[in-house]
Each structure stands twice: as structure tokens, then as C-alpha cells.
């Protein structure tokens, strides 16, 4: 019996040390590329999840189905809603931060799997602020093709393109839909494609938006892996600080006009609850 237990224990230890080893490799590579923190004692860490829930105020967003009315009185439905989330930073109540500067997420309303992002190995503590970019930073936007993997791989978008080849850069935010009020050469379609990282050779419009949200002392500990539920109010895209009129500009594909739209959607994010 005793021998049996010893063997079991030995096996457990083996497994544990293997896992630890793999974990350490993972951690070191993360520290190199993905995560930066100035929080001391990161001996205990846990995962923080963030859910991005796109909705119309109180109503669920159902693609091509949910009808909304903007402040200009135009009825519309949304058929596509995608946006890049990057440079996520959590700030703890002690003022320390943990950031994920090289992590890029593409949130797509059509793909539930993309709406929950995971931030691994967040040090234990109480966090009072969450911030992130909507878009892809300028450094990444001018980087070598070899560093553009995953959601930044320009070949990865299929027929739901998120990259401008003609004015090279990512489409940070894309919302397309239909409105009976729009009549553009017989079509009722509207398209907002918002990009523009500020230009490489000279200043051009910059639509990278940093969103800062307060957290009510969200706890991370060995036992607590919080899930932060972020709501994006889709109605803000047309009715934020700027009131957009679909009949006036159903097609927005240029960074300059896009600045009105990006200012709007940046104001659409809020924390709903944490569990």
C-alpha cells in the first residue's frame, strides 16, 4: 500500500514538474513578447477573461435582424461588426500595471469564440482600471510581415477583410449593414470601415482609440479568475458625440471621415459586471 502511494506521489511530482517546466517556458516567452508588468511578487497569478458583448443598449444584437433607429431617424440593421482590441492594460489599486502590448484580438460579432479574450498570468491583486486600444498601433502597422501572425495575418480574413492593401494598414473597426433609408445606386447598404494609424511618411488621420474603463476592485488570486463583462453599445457608432446620417454618408472608407466614427465608438464601451 505504502509503495503504491509512493509511486503515485512520484508520478504526480513528475507530472507537476513537467507542467512547471512547460509553464516556465510559456511564461518566459510571454514575458519576452506578450506580457509586461511592474507588479512585484507575481508568484501567484491567474487568468483574467474579458467578454465583449455587442448590443443595442438593452437589446441583444442579432446580425441582420435587430432593427435600430439612429438619432437622424433612420432605421438600420447591422450585418457585420468586427474590431481589433489590443494593448490591454490592467491597473491595480496599488498603482502597478500589467499590460499585454503584443497581444491582438479580433472581436467578431459573427463568431462567439472571438468575443471572450483571455489574459494569462495576471498577478494577484485588486484591479481598478482596464484599458485597451481599438485598433492596431502604429509600430505594428509598419512592422515586418513576419511579425504579423494570427489575427494580424493579412491572408487570414477570407471575404471579411480587415486590411487595406491600397493604403496599407488594418481596418480597425468595421460595421456594415442595411437601411431602407439608404439608396446608393439602388442598394440599401452602408459600410463603415475605419482605419488609419497616423501615417509612416507624414502625419495622416489617426483612428487608434484608447478606451479606459474603471473597475470596482476586481480581485485576482489563486482561486479567483475574474471574467469582466464589457458591453459595447452599437448605437453609439452613429450617435456618440457626433450624429451620423446614413443617407449623407453610407460609405465611409477613409481615415479622415472615419475620425467622427472612431470618436463615437470609443465612447460605446462600458463595464457591465464582473464574475
Amino acid at each position: 500500500m505504502i509503495f503504491f502511494f509512493e509511486t503515485l506521489e512520484y508520478k504526480l511530482e513528475m507530472n507537476f514538474s513537467n507542467k512547471l517546466y512547460i509553464g516556465l517556458i510559456g511564461l518566459s516567452s510571454l514575458m519576452m513578447s506578450c506580457k509586461q508588468t511592474d507588479i512585484e511578487n507575481p508568484d501567484t497569478t491567474n487568468t483574467v477573461k474579458i467578454e465583449f458583448d455587442n448590443r443595442f443598449a438593452a437589446a441583444e444584437l442579432s446580425l441582420s435582424n435587430t432593427q435600430a433607429i439612429n438619432a437622424s431617424g433612420e432605421v438600420y440593421t447591422v450585418s457585420t461588426l468586427n474590431y481589433f482590441v489590443s494593448h490591454v492594460v490592467l491597473k491595480s489599486e496599488t498603482g502597478g500595471t500589467v499590460s499585454f502590448p503584443n497581444q491582438y484580438f479580433l472581436i467578431k460579432e459573427s463568431d462567439v469564440g472571438t468575443q471572450l479574450i483571455e489574459l494569462p498570468e495576471v498577478p494577484r491583486g485588486n484591479y481598478t482600471q482596464l484599458s485597451f486600444n481599438i485598433g492596431v498601433d502604429s509600430l505594428k502597422s509598419v512592422s515586418d510581415v513576419g511579425s504579423r501572425t494570427g489575427v494580424l495575418d493579412v491572408a487570414s480574413y477570407g471575404n471579411d477583410n480587415m486590411y487595406w492593401s491600397w493604403n496599407m494598414g488594418y481596418i480597425f473597426f468595421k460595421m456594415e449593414g442595411n437601411s431602407p433609408d439608404v439608396d446608393l445606386k439602388g442598394k440599401d447598404k452602408f459600410e463603415f470601415h475605419i482605419g488609419g494609424f497616423g501615417g509612416k511618411e507624414g502625419p495622416t488621420p489617426n483612428n487608434i482609440k484608447n478606451v479606459v474603463l474603471s473597475l470596482d476592485h476586481v480581485k485576482v488570486s489563486q482561486r479567483t479568475s475574474p471574467e469582466i463583462h464589457v458591453i459595447f453599445d452599437v448605437s453609439k457608432v452613429m450617435d456618440g458625440g457626433n450624429t451620423l446620417k446614413l443617407t449623407e454618408s453610407p460609405m465611409i472608407h477613409n481615415p479622415m471621415v472615419g475620425t467622427k466614427v472612431s470618436a463615437n465608438y470609443a465612447s460605446g464601451f462600458s463595464i457591465d459586471h464582473v464574475h
Binding site: A155, S165, W166, M168, T204
Partner: protein
């Protein structure tokens, strides 16, 4: 002998074995070769891709369709280049040459990294109209491409990076620097200018080189050279990229290398001959917004050119043709 480095470029025939080199009279390359050196296998892969219709939606349009070697990699005889389903593009396809020495690409400079250049024609609905992911999938289905990727990169996996960088390797190998002018300026055999060519060079230096500068014959800037702006669907040029009013109607100053092979001229191919181009500068310049300051002196538009000067310029411009470039079998369809 063994200790002596071979001198760079003296014999054009010898250069045909070199994939990429920096000619003596060229500025330093802009392309970062440390990230993507040109190798024989990478070049071979890039060349195969360049000539392969699989890059287009229906398999009919290869890069070479609008960039034919015989015409210094332009679309011969087309004012605006034609693409898939006979769609007509918005602009005249520029030559692909000396890409390693350029900071930006396209008439409006919308792409600042050669490695991302190829995405545009592949995905443009008027050109090859294909999704990049589909192209890679098609290549994966073949027998030869995984082998070519393996040879080029040590892995048979077909990646976006490997695909785009192979095309860059091929394009960067398209160095054209063996024109009569190059021989003249490098004091090589065959570089003796006629009196007419010398006179043309002299006119060129005083009246053209402020824009068509360096031995690339472009200073890489964007300028409005006074073409007529059509009210219906005007091409705003550089403005489309910067959305800066002061960039309206500006286009990148094109290189003049191989100009004898690359008619028609200008971003919309509106001039069929070099003579017409010279006439434009002499007496056809329109005073549109952001007209280049070099093209307006008080009330006088354009660059005054006498008939004799025009003859000299035409003679000189034809010394910029590089026959070895358009006949080099290394660049031809595999």
C-alpha cells in the same frame, strides 16, 4: 588574385548571374535585406509566383499580365491597365524595376513596404480579384509549391510571409542599370554619347533633374505636374492616402529608366509618345490646385523647351533604355 574582391559591375553579362546588386551609381537600397535576403531558391519561387495565374480568382491573370518583361514590366499598349474579366483599372501599371531603392509604391505611394505590395493587385477587384488566403490554399494543393517553399525557407509550409517575401525577392532582383546612360556615367565600354545625347543630358540637368533626380531618375516625391483634371471622377492621387488638401492631384515622380519601353505615359497613360510628354511640359500644363512650383513662373506655365532641346531630350531619354533588362532570360517566364 584570390585576395582581391571582384569589382562590382563592369560586365552586364556577368551581372546576369547576380540576383540583386547595388549598381555603383545608385543610392543605398531602402529595402531591409537583413529580413529577406535574395537567395537563388527564393528568387525561383518568387518568379514562379509572378508568372502564375493562380494568384487571380479565375486563374487567368498573373502579375506578368500587366507587368511584361518586354516592356520593362509594364502593360504594353494600355492607357489604363486591364485585369480580370477585362475590367479596366484606375491607373497605368508602372514598371517593376529597382524596387529595392524605392521607399513607396504605386502612383500615390499607398504602400510603403514592398513585402505588402503584392496584396493590392491580388485583392483588387479590377485586377486579380482574389483573396490572399485562397491563393495560399491553391498553392498548398499543388505538388511543386510546397517543395519550392521547402527549398527557399527550409519548411514546406506555405505562409503569408514566405509567399510575400518570395515575390519581393523576385522584384528586388529586377535591377536595371545597364543602359547606355549607365555606361556613360560609369565610364564603361559602349557609353559614348552622341552630340545630340550630350546636348539632351545638359537640358535634362537644368530643366528636368529637379524632380527626376539621382540615377534612379526620381526624387521619390509626389507632385502635380499639371495634367488636366477631369471633373468626372477626378483622380486625387496622393490625397487619397494622406487626405491632405495640399496633396490633391499629386502623383509620385516616376523613374525615367526604360522609358522608351514603357509607353503610354503618366498615371492615366494619356500620352502615347515621349514627344507628347515633352509637348505637355512645354505648352500643355494646366494650372490646377497644388501645381508644382517648378511648373509655374509668374504667369508662365510649364517648362519652355525649344524644338532643338526637345530633340536632344528625346535622344537622351532613349539612352535610359536598358536592353539587357528586358531580354534577360533570368527574368523571363519559367
Amino acid at each position: 588574385m584570390a585576395c582581391k574582391e571582384p569589382s562590382v559591375i563592369l560586365d552586364p553579362l556577368k551581372d546576369r548571374t547576380k540576383l540583386y546588386y547595388q549598381p555603383d551609381n545608385f543610392p543605398n537600397p531602402s529595402y531591409d535585406f537583413s529580413k529577406n535576403p535574395v537567395t537563388e531558391d527564393g528568387f525561383k519561387l518568387g518568379k514562379k509566383l509572378f508568372y502564375d495565374g493562380k494568384l487571380s480568382r479565375d486563374g487567368t491573370i498573373a502579375c506578368a499580365e500587366c507587368h511584361g518583361q518586354s516592356y520593362a514590366f509594364t502593360h504594353h499598349g494600355h492607357t489604363l491597365s486591364h485585369g480580370i474579366d477585362n475590367a479596366i483599372g484606375n491607373r497605368n501599371a508602372p514598371p517593376i524595376q529597382n524596387t529595392a531603392f524605392m521607399d513607396s509604391f504605386f502612383w500615390d505611394g499607398g504602400v510603403f513596404d514592398l513585402d505588402f505590395f503584392s496584396v493590392a493587385p491580388i485583392t483588387n477587384p479590377l485586377e486579380m480579384d482574389e483573396e490572399l488566403g485562397n491563393v495560399l490554399d491553391k498553392l498548398k494543393m499543388t505538388k511543386e509549391y510546397p517543395e519550392l517553399f521547402e527549398a527557399a525557407y527550409g519548411s514546406s509550409e506555405i505562409t503569408t510571409e514566405g509567399f510575400l517575401k518570395a515575390l519581393s525577392q523576385f522584384m528586388n532582383s529586377l535591377v536595371s542599370a545597364n543602359s547606355k546612360y549607365d555606361k556613360y556615367v560609369r565610364n564603361e565600354r559602349g557609353g559614348d554619347f552622341t552630340d545630340s545625347e550630350l546636348a539632351g543630358l545638359s537640358v535634362f540637368k537644368t530643366k528636368c533633374a529637379s524632380c527626376h533626380g539621382t540615377d534612379l531618375f526620381s526624387d521619390g516625391t509626389y507632385r502635380n505636374n499639371g495634367l488636366q483634371v477631369y471633373d468626372r471622377e477626378p483622380d486625387n492621387g496622393r490625397y487619397n492616402i494622406t487626405e491632405n488638401e495640399s496633396d490633391k492631384y499629386k502623383f509620385k515622380v516616376p523613374s525615367l529608366r526604360n522609358i522608351g519601353y514603357t509607353a503610354p505615359y503618366m498615371h492615366d497613360g494619356q500620352f502615347l509618345s515621349l514627344k507628347q510628354v515633352l509637348e505637355h511640359y512645354d505648352n500643355g500644363v494646366y494650372n490646377t490646385d497644388n501645381l508644382d512650383p517648378d511648373l509655374i513662373k509668374g504667369e508662365i506655365l510649364g517648362i519652355a523647351l525649344s524644338e532643338e532641346e526637345k530633340l536632344g531630350l528625346l535622344a537622351f531619354l532613349n539612352t535610359l533604355n536598358d536592353p539587357t533588362f528586358i531580354t534577360n532570360p533570368a527574368f523571363a517566364a519559367p
